[in-house]
């Protein structure tokens, strides 16, 4: 295990932000800490980096107890949401910073920095200052800077949070590819489930300072441990006291085994996807069907149809619903 977090508790004042958190991060993995804002994921990342100290619990990095180590002795790379660029230094000197601190020979620094700048596609920006870069470029510079010291783990705190949607998407794909090239154990924080599912190979879902579920992206999506995880990872609708994914609902004209009657209240066409709003036993629900299905059934408001969960669909029974 590259990172082992054990029973970590942390409060700010009287507000608990981490409650008995235990997480293992496998060497070479790309792990997402996913959760709503205020869920404690950034704090957990900062605890791993040594930028916050846990009240109780331990953090081991590469088998060494790092709980009491200062950030500068943990050998972790940290990337901040707002880049934390050293404004008064060129891109080159930003990336060289950690190596200069380690007093590496000049030509080695030069070689390594240019290598990294090439890796993040900033080789032509070496002499620019951060203020002359776009947000995406700054974040790539910050990434190169963190990688320069060959950290044992790379920690990214909402790395794409401050970027616009287009750049965000590009950097996501790029981070995934970079990780395949560099293989450094990476943990990143995000509140965007799509980002977590697309980029990570392990997803840790955190809410209210506690770990809700750990698993592969398809695992947490298909087999959510509880209604919270199911709701957070994708769209859900409630039918007959169970949570179901709207794309797991089958609509048919005639009754089938296990189906029940529903009234169509609205049909919204969103290109390929059609959103069918329903009234089931007096409660609102919705189903996601393809345009083909909607046209074949000629769905229109007021129709009475039969619905049932697709055979094999995962659903969660809500207690007390």
């Amino acid at each position: 295990m590259a990172i082992e977090v054990r029973d970590v508790n942390k409060s700010f004042g009287t507000t608990p932000v981490l409650r008995d958190v235990s997480v293992d991060v496998a060497s070479g993995s790309l792990t997402a800490l996913l959760g709503p804002s205020g869920g404690g994921k950034s704090t957990l990342l900062r605890v791993i980096a040594g930028l916050e100290h846990p009240d109780t619990g331990t953090v081991r990095i590469s088998g060494v107890d790092a709980t009491r180590l200062s950030p500068q002795r943990r050998n972790v790379g940290f990337v901040f949401q707002h880049y934390a660029a050293f404004k008064h230094m060129t891109v080159f000197r930003n990336v060289a910073f950690g190596l200069e601190i380690r007093k590496r020979p000049k030509d080695e620094i030069r070689r390594r920095v240019m290598e990294l700048l090439e890796l993040v596609h900033l080789e032509r920006m070496a002499d620019r200052y951060p203020s002359q870069l776009s947000g995406g470029q700054r974040q790539r510079m910050a990434l190169a800077r963190a990688l320069a010291v060959e950290p044992e783990v790379l920690l990214l705190d909402e790395p794409f949070g401050a970027l616009d949607a287009q750049v965000r998407k590009e950097l996501r794909t790029w981070l995934r590819r970079l990780h395949d090239e560099v293989h450094v154990t990476t943990v990143f924080v995000t509140h965007d489930q799509e980002e977590a599912i697309e980029v990570a190979d392990t997803v840790v879902v955190l809410a209210d300072g506690a770990v809700e579920q750990v698993g592969s992206p398809s695992d947490v999506y298909d087999n959510p441990a509880n209604p919270f995880v199911m709701r957070f990872l994708g769209p859900v609708t409630e039918i007959g006291g169970s949570l179901v994914r709207p794309h797991d609902i089958e609509i048919s004209a005639e009754a089938r085994p296990g189906s029940g009657a529903a009234t169509v209240t609205r049909v919204v066409r969103l290109g390929f996807e059609v959103r069918v709003e329903l009234l089931v036993d007096g409660r609102e629900a919705w189903a996601q069907v393809t345009r083909g299905t909607a046209e074949r059934l000629a769905l229109a408001p007021g129709d009475i149809v039969n619905i049932r969960p697709t055979p094999g669909a995962r659903s969660l029974t809500l207690t007390g619903a």
């Binding site: 050998n75 934390a84 008064h88 920006m125 790029w174």
Partner: protein
């Protein structure tokens, strides 16, 4: 590559190549008022002093400046101001640091007190200093009629400059930068020297230059505690005053012109330093 779209960003505009935007009527009116006001209040009086100083030729100007008492007053003033500006550079930065980064009871009061030398008539400052560090000092420290006394008075009136220029910069300083440096292995001292200090230097220099220019013109606070002993504790402003009292306005204007030039050079140097700084940041 997919992510390289942003590398096409235009190079930053060069100062010289910038096109001058055409001024609208409103701008012209504003600019006109500003220039007129500045001329009436600052430029014309200053120009007059310079003209007056050469009324009786450059030879007389030079003689007036280099009379032993005037020369002594000028060197004392400029020397003491330089020392005072440097002391305030260090201690003003330290105070700003403490006010921004530390928590202690009464911080708000201390923060307000910093401005007191600005608010107080400087003669009152002189009076206070004389009472505390004069011949009847309750502390047993007598700095009256000494150069140390002059320095003390100048320190008092110029304290706020560095504090008030560094403070806002320090408040705005991105703390993530420091944490990034720490996670890259920098010790607290290395972080201070390589990350914090370079970001503060422009503000520190600008505060120092302001403190220096204020110190060379100081009159009120030094006039009491210095005793105005020619060749020993008389500062330039007091020397000018005594020249005027002795009906030597040309001599007074000559010394004034020297102070003016020194202040101008200091401000110019500051401006150059700031341009150099902003180009990098």
């Amino acid at each position: 590559m997919t992510v390289d779209t942003s590398s096409r960003t235009a190079p930053p505009p060069r100062a010289g190549a910038r096109r001058r935007p055409r001024a609208s009527a409103g701008t012209a009116l504003g600019l006109g008022s500003a220039v007129l006001y500045l001329s009436l209040i600052v430029l014309i009086p200053l120009a007059l002093v310079v003209v007056r100083s050469t009324d009786e030729g450059l030879g007389y100007f030079w003689k007036a400046v280099t009379t032993p008492d005037a020369w002594a007053a000028l060197t004392l003033t400029i020397g003491a101001s330089a020392v005072v500006a440097l002391v305030n550079l260090v201690l003003g930065t330290l105070i700003a640091w403490v006010l921004v980064r530390d928590r202690f009871p009464g911080k708000a009061i201390v923060d307000t007190l910093i401005d007191l030398p600005f608010a107080l008539p400087t003669i009152v400052a002189g009076l206070v200093l004389l009472a505390l560090y004069g011949p009847e000092s309750p502390l047993g420290v007598n700095l009256a009629y000494s150069r140390a006394g002059v320095g003390l008075a100048l320190l008092f009136v110029t304290l706020p400059f560095v504090v008030r220029t560094v403070q806002p910069v320090l408040i705005e300083l991105d703390k993530d930068m420091e944490q990034a440096a720490a996670s890259l292995g920098a010790s607290p001292f290395q972080t201070f020297r390589r990350i914090i200090l370079p970001n503060l230097v422009p503000a520190m220099l600008s505060g120092t230059a302001l403190a220096f220019t204020r110190a060379i013109s100081e009159f009120g606070s030094t006039v009491l505690i210095s005793g105005n002993l020619p060749f020993k504790t008389q500062v330039a402003a007091v020397n000018i005053f005594s020249q005027i009292e002795g009906d030597n306005t040309t001599g007074a204007a000559a010394i004034s012109t020297v102070l003016l030039v020194v202040a101008l050079v200091a401000l110019l140097a500051l401006d150059l330093l700031q341009r150099w700084g902003s180009r990098r940041g």
